[in-house]
C-alpha cells in the first residue's frame, strides 16, 4: 500500500516536473540569449493560463484547442515587453534590470486582480479533465499526461531549433558575444526578439496545458516563477538542457519530499536542495559558466 502511494507520488512529481521544466526552459532561453532574468516570467504564465481560461469561458474553446492562441498571445507579449522595456535597459546596471522586470511582475499581478478579481477559477469539463489511466494500483491523470507530453514535444522543438538550425546557432553566438556576433553579420536585435518570443511562448503553452488540471488566480505566478528560478539555477544558468533536466528533478523532489515529510514542506525541500547545490556546485548541474 505504502509502495503504491510512493509510486503515485513519483509519477505525479515526474509529470509536474515536465511542466516546471517547460516554464524554466523559457526563462533560461531569455536569460541565456538576451542576458536578462525575467522576474515576471511567472506572471507571464499566469497570463497564459488566463488566456486559456477566457477562451473557454467566453467562447467555449477547450484549453487544448486554444493552445495556439495562448502560445501566440504570450509570444506577442514577450516581443512587446522586450521592445518596450528590456531593450532599453540592456546596458543598464544590473539593479535597474532586476527592478524593471520585478516591477513588471507586480504590475501584471495587480492588473490581473483588478480586471479579474483575486478569485481562483477553474475550467470545468475540459476534454481530458476527468480521464485517467490505471497502471496497477497507480492512476495517471490524463491532463497531467497531456501536459507532460506537450512539454517534452516543445523541448524537442526548441532543442532542435537551437542546436540544429542556423538561426539557433546565430542565437547562441549572440548569447556568447553580442558584438562579435554583430560583426559576423548577425542581426542581434532579431535574435533577442526571437529569444523573448520563444521563451514567452513556452509559458503560453505551459499555461494552456496547466488549466486542464490547475486553477488560475492572479498570484499563481509566484509559485511557478520562484520554482523556475530555482530550476535554472540548479540546471546551470543559460543551459537549456540543464533547465529541462533540473525541472524534472525539482518536480520529483517537491512531490516525493512532500510525501515523505509532509505536503506543507514541499517547497522547503526544493529550496534546501537548491541551497546545497548552490553551495557545492554553484555553476549548476549542467552549467557552462
Amino acid at each position: 500500500m505504502t509502495f503504491e502511494i510512493l509510486a503515485q507520488a513519483v509519477i505525479n512529481g515526474l509529470l509536474m516536473g515536465f511542466v516546471f521544466a517547460l516554464v524554466a526552459v523559457g526563462l533560461s532561453l531569455i536569460l541565456g540569449v538576451a542576458q536578462i532574468i525575467n522576474f515576471a516570467h511567472g506572471e507571464f504564465l499566469m497570463l497564459g493560463m488566463y488566456t486559456a481560461f477566457w477562451m473557454w469561458a467566453l467562447f467555449g474553446l477547450d484549453p487544448l484547442v486554444s493552445l495556439p492562441i495562448s502560445i501566440g498571445v504570450l509570444a506577442l507579449l514577450g516581443v512587446c515587453v522586450y521592445k518596450l522595456i528590456t531593450k532599453r535597459i540592456l546596458d543598464a546596471p544590473r539593479l535597474t534590470q532586476i527592478f524593471a522586470t520585478f516591477g513588471l511582475s507586480i504590475f501584471l499581478r495587480s492588473l490581473a486582480q483588478f480586471l479579474w478579481t483575486p478569485n481562483s477559477r477553474m475550467i470545468q469539463n475540459s476534454w481530458v479533465g476527468d480521464l485517467r489511466v490505471a497502471l496497477g494500483g497507480v492512476y495517471i491523470g490524463a491532463p497531467q499526461l497531456v501536459a507532460a507530453a506537450g512539454a517534452i514535444l516543445a523541448f524537442g522543438v526548441i532543442h532542435w531549433l537551437v542546436e540544429k538550425t542556423e538561426v539557433g546557432r546565430a542565437m547562441m553566438a549572440t548569447a556568447e558575444d553580442r558584438d562579435a556576433a554583430a560583426l559576423m553579420g548577425i542581426n542581434t536585435e532579431q535574435m533577442y526578439t526571437l529569444a523573448w518570443a520563444v521563451g514567452s511562448a513556452c509559458v503560453g503553452l505551459a499555461g494552456g496545458l496547466l488549466t486542464t488540471f490547475y486553477s488560475v488566480e492572479p498570484n499563481i505566478g509566484l509559485v511557478f516563477g520562484t520554482t523556475a528560478s530555482v530550476v535554472i539555477a540548479l540546471g546551470g544558468f543559460g543551459s537549456i538542457k540543464g533547465a529541462f533536466a533540473a525541472g524534472i528533478i525539482v518536480g520529483l523532489i517537491q512531490v516525493v519530499g512532500g510525501f515523505l515529510i509532509g505536503p506543507a514542506f514541499k517547497f522547503a525541500v526544493v529550496l534546501t536542495v537548491y541551497l546545497v547545490v548552490v553551495a557545492v556546485r554553484p555553476q549548476g548541474l549542467l552549467g557552462k559558466y
Binding site: M172, A173, D177, L183, M184, G185, N187, E189
Partner: protein, 235 residues
C-alpha cells in the same frame, strides 16, 4: 573606398576621438599606429557601428554608414577582426567559420569561400572539430581572420592582430595579410601597437595620439621620420 571625416566619439560623455579623418583607397594596406589608449580600437568600432560618433561622417564607396546597424555594415563589405579575437569559444572551428557565412545564401557559394579560406590557413582544415577556445593564441588569430574572410569582405579591418602572440608568429600573420591583399585583392585597414611591422607592411599610415591624427604619410616616410623613430621605435 572608405572615407572617415572628422569623427568625434565619446564613452559615457568622456571624449575618446577628437575629429579623426582618414581614407582608405581600394587595394591599399593602411595602418593606424599609436600607443595604448590613443583611440585606435575606437576608430574601428565606430566604422563598424558598434559605437556612434557624435559628429562626423563615415562613407563606404560614397554611402553613409553612421546610421546603419553593425550587421548592415558587414553587408556593405566591411569585415572587422576585433581586438582580443572574440571567437565563439564554445563552438568548433568549423562552426566559427560557417557562422561568418550566414550572409551567404547559396550553399555552393559558401563551399567556395570556405575552400579559399583553407588555402590561406591550411592548418584550420585539419582541425575543424576542435573547440575554438582550446587553440593557441596564434591559431586563434588565424581563425579570427579566417572567420572574417568568410564574409567575403572588400575591406578587412584588423584590431591588434599581434596581441598576445609569439614574435615569430606575428611575422607570419603579417605575411598572410600581405598575401590576402595581393592575391585576393582585399583592401586592409590595420590598427597596431607594433609600429615598425605595421609601417613596413602599409602603403600609407596614420599616427594617432590621444584621439587625434598627428601625422600621416606613406609607410616608408613614417618609418624614416625622426618624430616616429623617437616616439615609437626607440631608435
Amino acid at each position: 573606398m572608405l572615407e572617415v571625416n572628422n569623427i568625434h566619439v565619446s564613452y559615457d560623455g568622456v571624449p575618446a576621438l577628437y575629429g579623426v579623418s582618414f581614407r582608405v583607397e581600394e587595394g591599399e594596406i593602411v595602418s593606424i599606429v599609436g600607443s595604448n589608449g590613443a583611440g585606435k580600437s575606437t576608430v574601428l568600432r565606430t566604422v563598424s557601428s558598434l559605437l556612434r560618433p557624435t559628429q562626423g561622417s563615415i562613407r563606404m564607396n560614397g554611402e553613409e554608414l553612421t546610421a546603419l546597424r553593425p550587421h548592415e555594415v558587414v553587408l556593405r563589405g566591411i569585415a572587422h577582426v576585433p581586438e582580443g579575437r572574440r571567437l565563439f569559444n564554445r563552438q568548433s572551428i568549423k562552426d566559427n567559420l560557417t557562422l561568418g557565412a550566414f550572409t551567404r545564401k547559396s550553399q555552393a557559394d559558401r563551399e567556395e569561400v570556405l575552400e579559399k579560406v583553407y588555402e590561406v590557413f591550411p592548418i584550420l582544415k585539419k582541425r575543424l572539430g576542435q573547440l575554438a577556445g582550446t587553440l593557441s593564441g596564434g591559431e586563434q588569430q588565424m581563425l579570427a581572420i579566417a572567420r572574417a574572410l568568410m564574409l567575403k569582405p572588400k575591406l578587412l579591418m584588423l584590431d591588434e592582430p599581434s596581441l598576445g602572440i609569439a614574435p615569430k608568429l606575428v611575422d607570419e600573420i603579417f605575411e598572410t595579410l600581405k598575401e590576402i591583399n595581393e592575391k585576393q585583392g582585399i583592401t586592409i585597414l590595420l590598427v597596431e601597437q607594433h609600429v615598425h611591422e605595421a609601417l613596413e607592411l602599409a602603403d600609407r599610415a596614420y599616427v594617432l595620439q590621444t584621439g587625434r591624427v598627428v601625422t600621416e604619410g606613406t609607410g616608408k616616410e613614417l618609418l624614416q621620420s625622426d618624430a616616429i623613430q623617437k616616439a615609437y621605435l626607440g631608435i
